[in-house]
Subunit: 343 residues, 2 copies
């Protein structure tokens, strides 16, 4: 394979890209020493290091991470697999994660898995084909054979936002069931008696639902009403749900939404219908988006430290000694119920 190795023609700006060997030759050391210096291994003398750095600056050398990865069997590539970006609760998590990874020279490859497992197989293939050092998941991995595949993949797997009973490898999140219980307890304490639960099929809101129902049945004789929606809850579902609410007897006195967006939509509908919140109808959100505090009335909701989830997931992936007894495997970041005006 004879590639063009010559220097650029005179007058041309772009010269041949310098490589490790060029740096080594010019600094008067071996490629091994330059490699050690660049990778911050502690074996390089100060004098050699200074000479190497000078040449790197002079030549504008940028290491080829592809070659480095192939050779060292460490890609410093992390696959971040999320359902979507568009109205996602996970965005602050992804941002924090990408920042934390970038700090240490890792790069995130973004995979969009949709709301079920269909595309996940393809994304995992892509991650493995690129020798990703880790795969971070935010959605739920439901299918059992997918879990097995991930377990056998020979890569770190971090599940986030949930805390599975049986993590594939490591997990950072919180208990959605406990969130449901906390909301139920709060509403009972505030004297609400006819809750309506809106649950999105196939998401973690189903886990919150179970917790809510369990807790509610312990403290009230009135069953809670329920509505199930197909996709993750959002603003646009509010109109339909609000219409349904008006036909339910007895009329619910509080709606527990799967997202702040939906909660906001319900508020808008209620206000447009001349219904007073929270007196005639109360609303609880989930996620504590910025809008929850700014809405009028402000939205009672559940806050989760998504950025911390991102940072901790990145940290687990990058921790030097995976097998040490101090290595973290499961982190519960908790949540907090934020009482505001809407409920």
């Amino acid at each position: 394979v004879a590639q063009d190795q010559g220097l650029a023609a005179p007058g041309t700006a772009a010269a041949r890209k310098p490589k490790l060997g060029d740096v080594a030759a010019r600094a008067g050391v071996s490629t091994a020493t330059v490699s050690r210096y660049i990778n911050k291994l502690p074996l390089v003398s100060k004098a050699a290091g200074e000479r190497i750095q000078a040449v790197i600056d002079e030549l504008g050398y940028v290491p080829n991470l592809l070659a480095g990865a192939l050779s060292s069997n460490r890609s410093r590539l992390v696959a971040v697999l999320v359902p979507g970006l568009s109205q996602s609760l996970f965005n602050p998590t992804i941002e924090a994660m990408v920042h934390a990874l970038g700090q240490d020279g890792y790069t995130a490859m973004l995979g969009l898995s949709g709301n079920d497992d269909t595309d996940l197989n393809r994304l995992i293939d892509a991650a493995l084909a690129r020798s990703a050092d880790g795969i971070i998941l935010t959605g739920i991995v439901g299918h059992d054979n997918l879990r097995k595949r991930l377990k056998a993949a020979g890569t770190r797997i971090i599940e986030t936002w949930g805390l599975p009973d049986n993590p594939i490898d490591a997990a950072v999140g919180f208990s959605h069931a406990q969130v449901g219980r906390a909301i139920a307890a709060y509403l009972a304490r505030r004297g609400y008696s006819r809750p309506l639960l809106v649950t999105a099929r196939g998401t973690r809101s189903a886990e919150r639902r179970s917790g809510f129902v369990e807790e509610w049945q312990g403290s009230s004789t009135v069953e809670c009403q329920e509505i199930e929606v197909e996709s993750p809850s959002r603003f646009s579902q509010a109109r339909l749900i609000f219409r349904a609410v008006r036909q339910i007897t007895p009329r619910p006195d509080v709606i527990i939404c799967g997202s702040d967006g939906l909660a906001q939509g319900i508020l808008v509908e209620a206000l447009a219908a001349g219904m007073s919140v929270p007196d005639e109808l109360a609303v609880v959100g989930f996620g504590n988006l910025p809008v929850a505090a700014d809405m009028r009335p402000s939205i009672t909701t559940v806050a989760v430290d998504g950025e911390r989830i991102g940072r901790e997931a990145a940290a687990i992936l990058m921790q030097p000694d995976v097998n040490s007894p101090t290595a973290q495997r499961t982190i519960d970041v908790g949540f907090s119920l934020i009482e505001r005006e809407s409920a």
Copy 2:
């Protein structure tokens, strides 16, 4: 370098990862032929192809793209550099882009550049170090030496959402100045006379502002009022801006917002203050988020086909012959003003 090349111990599930050579040997062909088959080069006989595919399935062979990239000098990696994810207009663009890229075996590496050029240098380094085949930018590249750097990078550069006078390489977007003009013309036609412009510093809303002012001055003797905000506009700025509005004389009759989120916030404030929209105060948004149609009153705004921007950007990057005369370099996807209740 002696790595463990042995098969797994009996009883162990994980065997050594098969590589190209294993497939070749088992199929009775050379590695060259297997490589050609996998990369869909048209030179492989049908018989050989079938044998190879059978072995691939049998062994569960997954090509090592790192090695392939190093060898072929094509990484099929694309750096997608966006300011952020949290309340970003670009998210549908990114989603469409990632989907389109994934279809053809490309992978997106996600870089978060913030709202200025500070981090961009580091992200470009990372992209080049990984031999990205292309860099897609959604933010504005302001600094001139950064533009020069990108131009000299020897990689495809696609600027999106704007149409720079002088693209670094290729661009997919629309004219923000024309958006401003279209809004001004619309508002004049509807009889509004005292517009208030909210512009975010250092973003493209500044380009829309110029277009608006230019058009407005051509058709009205009343100057438009202006407010400048530091960060991209969003819901949470509404309270402050609304307070300011009430102190401006003459009182503005329409507010032109940099985003639907801010427009929504203004609506909430106006409604809470008992002001009727659009009679006492009208509002125009930007982006046509789903919420714009669902809000009450629904929001008059500007729609941009962000998904198309994503698809076209990906297509430009993956087009087979970059230098052919038919190769696209600049695509104007246009926009449309959507008239709703708020203005």
